[in-house]
Amino acid sequence: MRIVVMPPFDREFFGGDRLDMDATNLFDLVARLDARAPGFATIAEARAAFAIDGVFAPDWSLPLADACEVIVLPRVGGG
């Protein structure tokens, strides 16, 4: 599964914007990303959002078995 990491997380945590890894769901993906870049899980809840195959996914328990791509991007604040 392709993981596209948007800024600032690409440079802040992973040193690049493309990763390839499998995960059962987004909880699992966050744990795997944290294993690669310690500290990511700590900030993910507050700062990160995810899109699975082009659809924002606030439900992190959605299965990723059939997903081709997950985009990791910052949560956007509002006023």
């Binding site: 948007m6 600032p8 700062r47 899109a51 924002f56 910052p74 949560r75 956007v76 604040g77 509002g78």
Partner: protein, 755 residues
């Protein structure tokens, strides 16, 4: 084009009923933050730093503590030691340690107005006198206000533990540049080198305030048994609870936060300033404590929208197709990190398809109050530069400004800068509506000009909880945890009424405290009508199912034999076929047919869609004074579907007016000592009704298929286009382009006389 469902498909949605909170608000009965009184309450006051940047050597509180009537004195040392914790604060993330330090400084003050100590006393006069008796020994440090000055080597450093995020490798030296966001695609330099038209320039502005009329105010009561209550005006009682509990190291269940009415927030009331301090004072004094900011406190110590320096190069081919965008902006973060430059990057050219782009955003700290959200945070500033450049390209190529935008506008399925494709968006529909509007083709007089700008904001969904209950007489109560800032009591009642198929007047809405209902995210991000609305509809749908089941039990038929039609149960088969039972009749018998009828829905709403807007502005520039008068203003917006059109129009008008103020008048003015010279509405000039024409709001309805009634957020995008719409109008009226906001008379006069 996504044609909206015909209006007659709805009973209540799309109508304009009277707001349920109107009488209390116009008669002065509504209780706002500074109004609340608790028995035995003490009055608080806060001592604030006169310096922009200083180390605190010592704070002497003994004289103040000894004064008659003084019951408690608190400083930053009264906060428990807490570890760094990045948590959701409003809709963005902040380190809770920084939030605590912003409420009461510990070792350093970082801006004029930074809170240093607080007092609680038996009268406001005693509290005010007591803070004058507090002595603070400061070691005044050099300060820095400017964005590029703060980024220079050797600039005064605000924090020794802030390192630039978003760069690789991780820096080993602390910096005032707290975040960098970069998105690149294609070959921007080659694209711009081959462009038929390139518009470039540097655009600047200072911070501006949200300008909410009600100052921050709260009452806190922390009992000896550890349980506490806060009554305050905010955009989210749950956000107040989580921040205060984290700062003070108490369980969230021990803290009950009751939302009071809110006199404007616009993003600025997603943060806490007074509540933790009032809690500390209350614990010491053993009595409730009220803290209220003055207008000067609000300007000096609460978070404005960031000022900016924006460099833009935008290129198009001879047909007006954009070929490249090279944008770098720096935004004021103020005293602490927490602003998110990402939204500015995303919104910069998010409404256009641009194949080659280099988008760089910086968040830069300086000795100013920490920046906070203000309607579509981060979008208006960069939009001002991009939409000004679009206007210049239209002039260079001789293409109509709307036509230029139509040739480049994003459509459903086009990728956003994040790569996530757009859903059922309506930017093209907005541009077409603007083109067809009589305003666009109306004649102009001498010294008059017409400007146009488009804009985009992502909106949000998020978690919300709602309860719907049927009373014994068949009337309906709806309870949510979303403070009503823009009329959500009415819109929630309307969506519940629509779902239950009952009259709007039969439904009443309560905004509950944090102990009375489950979690809801802040009222912000244009999310409440969408997300909390989804929760209300889900709960109301459950209630309908229950009503049908109860009617079936009463009739002795299967639940599948009962339909819910026109707000009544209708038996569809068997011996009772054709019989009807009103909601009132079911409710009256509910106790003997299964018990009370109530449902709660708690969800994390997905499926939100962005908002798009196109604004047209006519101005007249007075050559003798430089004064710019807005003659006519039309704001076109894709609203999904307007639940209560009056409120939607109000959001559009309010956002447009705030943007006009940003463009023409509003700005923070700091002096050489780093002190704010205009901390009041006399010198910080917001537009008033007599300054403006009627703002015509044009609602374009492209319904959201992921909401039962088609809702999209509407509250933020209307502040995105006005800065450029006004500036483009001034450019065409005056014949010169001004790139520094505000477009105040002195600047316009100088530009007119420099022609």
């Amino acid at each position: 084009m996504n044609a909206p469902q015909p209006q007659h498909a709805f009973r209540v949605v799309g109508t304009r009923p009277v707001r349920p909170d109107g009488v209390d608000k116009v008669t002065g009965k509504a209780i706002y933050g500074p109004d609340f009184v608790a028995p035995g309450m003490l009055y608080g006051a806060i001592l604030r730093s006169p310096h922009a940047h200083a180390r605190i050597r010592s704070i002497g509180t003994s004289k103040a503590s000894a004064l008659p009537g003084v019951k408690a004195v608190a400083t930053g040392r009264d906060f428990p030691t807490i570890e760094s914790l990045v948590m959701t604060v409003g809709e963005s993330a902040s380190d809770i340690v920084h939030v605590a330090r912003n409420c009461l400084a510990l070792d350093k003050v970082l801006y004029e107005g930074h809170a240093v100590a607080a007092v609680a006393a038996t009268s406001q006069a005693a509290a005010d006198a007591a803070i004058q008796a507090i002595t603070v020994d400061y070691d005044v440090l050099p300060h820095v206000l400017g964005l590029e000055e703060a980024m220079r080597e050797g600039a005064p450093l605000l924090h020794d533990d802030v390192f630039t995020k978003g760069v690789s490798p991780k820096p080993d030296k602390p910096s005032n540049a707290s975040m960098k966001v970069v998105i690149e695609r294609g070959d921007i330099d080659a694209a711009l080198a081959g462009a038929a038209a390139v518009a470039s320039g540097r655009y600047t502005m200072e911070p501006v305030h949200q300008g909410y009329i009600e100052p921050h105010g709260c009452v806190a009561s922390w009992n000896a048994d550890g349980q506490a209550q806060i009554w305050c005006s905010s955009q989210g009682a749950f956000a107040v609870r989580s921040q205060v509990a984290s700062m003070l190291g108490i369980a969230q269940a021990d803290l009950r936060v009751t939302p009071l009415e809110i006199g404007g927030g616009f993003g600025g009331k997603t943060a806490v300033y007074l509540e933790p301090v009032a809690m500390l004072l209350s614990r010491k004094a053993g009595r409730p404590v009220r803290l209220v900011m003055s207008r000067g406190d609000v300007f000096r110590a609460t978070g404005p929208a960031p000022g900016a320096v924006i460099d833009v190069r935008l290129g198009a081919d001879a047909d007006g197709k954009l070929v490249g965008a090279d944008i770098e902006f720096k935004y004021h973060g103020g005293a602490y990190p927490g602003l998110n430059a990402h939204s500015g990057v995303i919104c910069s050219i998010g409404h256009y398809n641009v194949p080659n782009a280099r988008l760089i955003g910086w968040e830069v700290l300086g000795n100013r109050p920490a920046s906070k959200a203000y309607r579509a945070p981060g979008a208006p500033q960069v939009n001002f530069a991009v939409e000004s450049a679009m206007d210049e390209i239209a002039l260079q190529l001789g293409i109509d400004p709307i036509e230029l935008r139509l040739r480049n506008a994003v459509r459903p399925g086009d990728p956003q800068p994040t790569g996530v494709p757009f859903g059922a968006i309506g930017y093209v529909e907005c541009l077409e509506a603007a083109k067809a509007h009589r305003h666009w083709s109306a004649p102009l007089g001498p010294n008059q000009g017409r400007g146009l700008a488009g804009g985009f904001w992502g909106n949000y969904g998020g978690p919300s909880t709602a309860q719907v209950s049927i009373t014994e007489d068949g009337s309906v109560t709806v309870t949510t945890g979303s403070p009503d800032i823009g009329g959500s009591r009415a819109s929630m009642a309307m969506m519940a009424a629509e779902t239950l198929q009952v009259p709007y007047e039969q439904v009443r809405v309560t905004i509950a405290d944090t102990a009375a209902i489950g979690f809801s995210m802040v009222t912000g991000g244009s999310r409440v009508t969408f997300a909390t609305g989804k929760a209300v509809i889900a709960a109301a749908s459950q209630v309908v199912d229950t009503l049908k089941a109860r009617a079936a039990r009463i009739w002795g038929v299967e639940p599948g034999e009962v339909a819910w039609t026109d707000g009544e149960a209708v038996c569809s088969s068997g011996a009772k076929a054709g019989e009807r039972m009103t909601l009132r009749q079911v409710a009256a018998r509910a106790a003997h047919a299964g018990g009370p009828i109530s449902a709660e829905a708690a969800l994390n709403a997905a499926g939100w869609l962005p908002g798009f807007a196109v604004h047209i502005c006519d101005v007249e520039a007075d050559a003798e004074t430089g004064h710019v008068r807005v003659l006519r203003y039309t704001a076109v917006q894709d609203v999904g579907r307007a639940i209560h059109p009056d409120y939607v129009e109000g959001q559009i008008q309010g956002g447009a007016v705030q943007g006009i103020g940003w463009a023409l008048n509003e700005t923070y003015v700091y002096n050489a000592d780093g002190r704010l010279d205009n901390p009041g509405f006399l010198d910080y000039r917001m537009p008033v009704a007599s300054d403006l024409p009627m703002i015509e709001a044009v609602m374009v309805e492209v319904p959201n298929p992921d909401h039962p009634y088609g809702v999209k957020g509407v509250g933020e995008v209307p502040i995105v286009p006005p800065l450029a719409a006004v500036a483009n109008a001034v450019a065409r009226a005056a014949g010169v382009r001004l790139r520094d906001l505000p477009l105040s008379p002195d600047r316009v006069y100088a530009a007119l006389n420099a022609r």
